[in-house]
Amino acid sequence: MKLSVDNLSTPFLKGISFEVHDENAVILGSNGAGKTTLAKALVGLYETSSVLVEGEKLASLGSGRRAQLLNFVPSGLDVFDEYIDAEAFLNLSLLNGSTPDDLETVMARLNITGIRNTPCRCLSSGESQLLLFAGGLLHNARLTIFDEPTANLDSDKKIKLFGMLKEHLGWKIIITHDLNLAYRLGYRILYLREGELVFDGSATDFFEESHFRSLFGESICWVGGHFVVNYG
């Protein structure tokens, strides 16, 4: 599937153009760089005519077809009805061939079977994040965009989720500002800064010493194989 963005401009984004052709990618950028806006435009949550799926305008794609091809997993869980529990939420994500058995498997792997009957509104931010991730896997769209999938998780869960992300067979775009995650994933990197796409290329090129320094200066150090913030 080819997803193309042609000169996308919004109040937050400035003339963004790129193509994703059946591949994984990472959208990197600092807070407020426009990552989530870009992701929402890619799945149609932000209405624009600049996004094309297989050459066809996303807005003219039927809603059922769109749900087959594209999904977005937000960083926060928003559920209006106070009595919808975690299992009911996941049941609503059983699309594109996923079965109730898959639901059980995913819940067991993410170790969230215990919150099955907990109302979504009562979940902690970490639990919500795992639930959203599980929903994304079950929805099983051709391309899934995960927005900061690891932001609220403790280290054990981050590692588990990283493993599951790598295993997940569908195409995915991961939005993050976690350089370590982007580095370990090794996918193509789209780097946004203040609404502009300033880098689009391989992870190797992005993390190449001089290029990396040109973007981050001395604010990030490379210590023991990891990026750490240099507080000075």
Binding site: L45, S63, A67, D81, L95
Partner: protein, 319 residues
Amino acid sequence: MKRLIFALSLIILAIAPFVGETAMKLANLFTPEATEYLLFWELRLPRVGVAFFTGAILALGGMVFQAVFRNALTTPFTLGVSNGATLATAIGIVFLPASLAALSYFFSFVGAFSTVVVLFLFARSLKATQTHSLLLIGIALSFFYSATLMVIFYLSDLEQSYSIIRFTMGSLSVVGMESLYPVAVAALALLWVVIRYRPELKLLLTSYENAFLKGIEIKKINLILLLAVSISAGVCVSVVGPIGFVGLVIPHIVRLLYRRSSDALILPVFYYGGVFLVFCDLIARNLGAVSEVPIGVVTSFIGGPFFIYIILKQRGRHG
């Protein structure tokens, strides 16, 4: 608690047509010559039926509106349907000769429906997720209608003013089965629509974003639900006038009682909305010594305290 209330509701429905100012001999119910026959089949039974289906429409409509607008305070009348009906009825009362009083049903119907049409036209130019804007438009429309109603009041004489005020209080004094049919059809049609769109409703109960991503055409679904509720509420208003409070409190009470998501409560909300209005009407008919108490007063007097009681009780139990 659930079982007790269900048992009580059955008793209320069973006795409602038999309790009233005039005591009835059961044996005479099937003798066409007896007064009881006329009283039961032409007055009491249609009245209980109209009360039931009106309550059912208002409660189910309230639940759907609360889900679509994501606002716990919306009722089927929030978008101005009842104000539209009231205004049109008032215009009919003041500007038409008294001999055309029988047309007041028709007027309130036109008022309610033109409001639905206006809302529909506005909704078409809004984006799918701009339900807040639609809500505000509905509220603005209500204010506009109220202001126009004031002008009509100003132009009316004493008797006309009284008729208008009496309409706004709502009344279940219907005669004959003919009044029951439109309300019953509207109620069952609304029930069918809501059940038909139950999966979509459940997705709307998570979030608009989630529903969109799961392949729901939000604008279409919202408009279908909005139209179904407004039209059926419009039918209610034109038969019995605006009866407040049912659409607001019954969905909340049923939710607190069952503790399940709204999509699983379509039938309970429909049923208890109906029972609640039958119960309120039972009291309205039997309380007043001189004439019956306006139904809207009873719904508020009973629903209000019970609502507060349930909320306080739930808060006490769950912190």
